[in-house]
């Protein structure tokens, strides 16, 4: 690109440590990268943005030796290199923290931190030293835990921190962070930013991928925008404003973006009187205590709270996916048997789970089969699958939700996160539910898809559906919800209605709520 040369931020413009020149990469039928130029300079935090499918992941994978470019060159310190494997890239000083945490859950925290490069003594692993070092290193990342415990006992956020610490420890010269904050708490994000600042001073180059625009503007020096496998802009972060950036990502007019705002929530509509969902005194050993929740038709009720407050657990309890010992659930006036997802679904209460990959999609089945998965018994005759009816449903929802797939027969596992989320939405919408519980519906999906999902939620509420919304993004929660129920330590500690639904009020409610110190371990 023509303007690639003026990306510098500092007084001097150091020569790039990692450089991709005219790189192209195709997969069967798809050109994922087309003639991409990209330069990463030491001491620079470089944002890589774009919608899902724009080619960010492919770029990262080419740079780290996971994929080999079809054409073009990768240069490290100006000389061409060929990374035979991710390990080769790692040995050359390129460390990557992937979106999905790639650690070994059953191994101890310390082992994970030093996996494959354990401190040795007489040829054996020096466990005592490893634990000592691990404790010291992790403290710098704000993680104070027993490093001898298995990693899986840590919260997602702490696990992510371990992954970051591990990546940086490997004498990295380039650190690639792919959505590092997606599972972090606010406090943890601040720690991470501190770490990034330190790395920058050490002259390490950082490639930072995130959908959270606020973060980008806060910590990044340079930005590269990708769209449809091409680089459409490279330059200093400070030369761009938010609107401009979004318009570059979407490839739309600034004026058009301005009309939409940052979220697609907000249109006022009628809310019914008779609750469509009434959950009373739900209790589940150790995680929930006497949580009650009411949702009226057309209403979006947000669940507020920190990680571990019991938001996901409340949603799961309502649809029978979390075992409850006590409580009562009513959908549309009729009582629903607890602890049975099938019963909840029959009654019309459905949950879009937080963990799309492990609890949502069935990766090797097609888009079509994923959409009709829950509806299968309803649209079958005598246990036999009827294709015509399926195609009708699938066609309708693929159009309505604008699901981008090569065909209904494409495997869901091959779709981008945003499209997978839409497939899951379609799975529920084709059942004509009465209450839709959404747990982090826009996590890890790109700006465009996010707006679309938010738009759909709004539309559904307008049509009289009751919606429960869980979101770690305050903005989304506040703008999306008509009412917010605040949870803490598995209890309901407050409720915000009308004008109270604001970020400040929510913060205050969280701060004031009784019940000791907030849990931050997730």
């Amino acid at each position: 690109m023509a303007d690639a040369g003026r990306a510098g931020v500092g007084v001097t413009n150091p020569s790039p440590v990692l450089e991709l020149a005219h790189v192209s990469k195709s997969f069967v039928g798809v050109r994922a990268l087309q003639d991409v130029d990209f330069r990463l300079r030491p001491g620079q935090v470089h944002a890589l943005v774009g919608e899902n499918g724009a080619g960010k992941s492919t770029l990262i994978k080419v740079a780290t030796g996971v994929y080999h470019p079809d054409a073009g060159e990768i240069r490290l310190d100006g000389s061409p290199v060929h990374f035979a494997s991710p390990l080769a890239a790692q040995e050359a000083g390129i460390s990557t923290i992937y979106q999905e945490i790639n650690l070994v859950p059953l191994m101890s925290v310390a082992r994970n931190l030093y996996l494959n490069r354990e401190p040795r003594r007489f040829g054996l692993i020096d466990a005592a030293r490893m634990r000592r070092d691990a404790r010291r290193v992790l403290r710098e990342y704000g993680v104070n835990v027993n490093v001898a415990r298995p990693l899986r006992e840590l919260g997602l956020g702490a696990q992510q921190m371990v992954a970051i610490a591990r990546a940086v420890q490997i004498d990295a010269r380039v650190v690639i962070m792919d959505e590092p904050t997606s599972s972090l708490e606010h406090r943890e994000v601040e720690t991470l930013f501190g770490v990034i600042e330190r790395l920058r001073h050490q002259g390490i180059a950082i490639l930072y991928v995130s959908h959270r625009l606020d973060e980008l503007f806060r910590i990044c020096d340079a930005v590269t925008v990708m769209r449809d496998g091409r680089v459409v802009h490279t330059g200093a972060m400070r030369d761009l404003d938010r609107l401009h950036l979004v318009s570059l990502m979407l490839g739309r007019d600034i004026a058009e973006v301005r009309r939409h705002g940052t979220t697609d929530f907000g249109s006022a509509h009628h809310i019914g009187d008779r609750p469509v969902l009434r959950a009373e005194n739900l209790s589940s050993r150790r995680v929930l205590q006497d949580v009650s929740l009411e949702v009226r038709p057309g209403e979006v009720v947000g669940l507020g709270g920190l990680l571990g407050a019991g938001r996901s657990e409340t949603a799961k309890a309502v649809v029978g996916a979390l075992h409850t010992e006590a409580g009562r659930i009513e959908v549309d006036g009729a009582q629903v048997r607890r602890n049975s997802t099938a019963a909840a679904i029959r009654a019309g209460a459905v949950l879009l789970p937080e963990d799309r990959k492990s609890e949502g999609i069935v990766p090797n089945l097609s888009v079509r089969e994923n959409i009709v998965l829950a509806a299968l018994p309803r649209i079958s005759r005598a246990g036999l699958v009827t294709r015509a009816k399926q195609d009708e449903i699938v066609d309708y929802f693929m159009k309505r939700l604008r699901i981008k797939a090569s065909s209904p027969e494409q495997k869901v596992g091959e779709l981008s996160g945003g499209n997978q989320q839409k497939v899951l939405l379609a799975r529920w919408l084709c059942l004509n539910p009465k209450v839709l519980l959404l747990d982090e519906p826009t996590r890890g999906i790109d700006v465009g898809a996010k707006a679309e999902v938010q738009g759909v939620i709004d539309e559904l509420a307008k049509d009289g559906l009751g919606v429960v919304l869980i979101s770690s993004e305050l903005e989304e929660l506040i703008e999306g919800s008509n009412r917010v129920v605040v949870l803490k330590d598995g209890r309901k500690v407050g409720e915000l209605t009308g004008d109270q639904v604001s970020e400040d009020a929510l913060m205050q409610s969280l701060a004031q709520a009784p019940g000791g110190t907030p849990r931050t371990d997730g």
Partner: protein, 321 residues
Amino acid sequence: MAEAALRRPALDRDRLLSLLQNYGVYAAIVLLVVVNAAITQNFLTLANLRVQLYQAVPILVVALGMALVIGTEGIDLSVGAVISLASAMIPLYLGYGPWAAMGTAMVAGAVSGVISGSLVAFAGVQPIIATLALMIGLRGLAVILNGASAKEVSDPLIDGLGTGDWLGIPQMAWVAVVLVGLVAFLVNRTTFGRQLVAIGDNRAASALSGLPVRRVLMTVYVLSGVLAAIAGILLVGYGSYADPSNLGLNYELNAITAVVVGGTPLSGGKVRVLGTVAGAVLMQLITATLIQHDVKASIEQMVEAAIIVAAVYTARGRSGR
């Protein structure tokens, strides 16, 4: 430079691997048939075809059930023992007539399936452990029931299933065709089949989507038990005798091999019925080729091992990328 040269083969390797995974078994069968036609006496004769059929069908029938279980990310090690149990039932109940004897054998298979199914679906025991316990226990039970001696079975109906013809085609072949058709239909065209695959691919997601996970698992193990029992009946018919100590030995391994070679991944979420047929046929052809050329059994085992490794490698090769 070098990269330009590298690019081509890399792409072709992906394609080749994907082709191998999808059509490798069939290609191997064609290759073996062609090679045998050239080097083996009397290979392309009807008589030889029949011999191979008689020997392949019982394994195939077991493998069909195994494929269903593997599709749910499970495994059924009890099938060999179920064959043994079914074979013990036949002489025991032949006095009530062949249908009753065969019926009892199938009920025994179903009951075994209910036990392993309950252990897996309700008690949450890992499939390999649950069915391992049955594998050991059922054969013992079969030997006790049968009185610890091989028994001759000379019933025209049962022996006919093993060696007789219907419309000029071995009855065993008819049984195989019907069962393959039923299982293929079950997997591809019924709600149950689609749910089975979904549960194997992502059990948590299936449960959250309200699928009857436990019922499906239970049914799958029952089907596997019944199919193994049918294989047991065929084996008794083929040999005209019931020997619970020896019948069905290692059939669980042969069935798993056929399933894996046929392209059904052990990680579940996919059931390839025709692939399983091809897997059973391929393994049979390999055995036949080696025996007919008087190759030592130990070498035969090594060849089989190589085939399994190759099959698993091609399956991995693609998903790993």
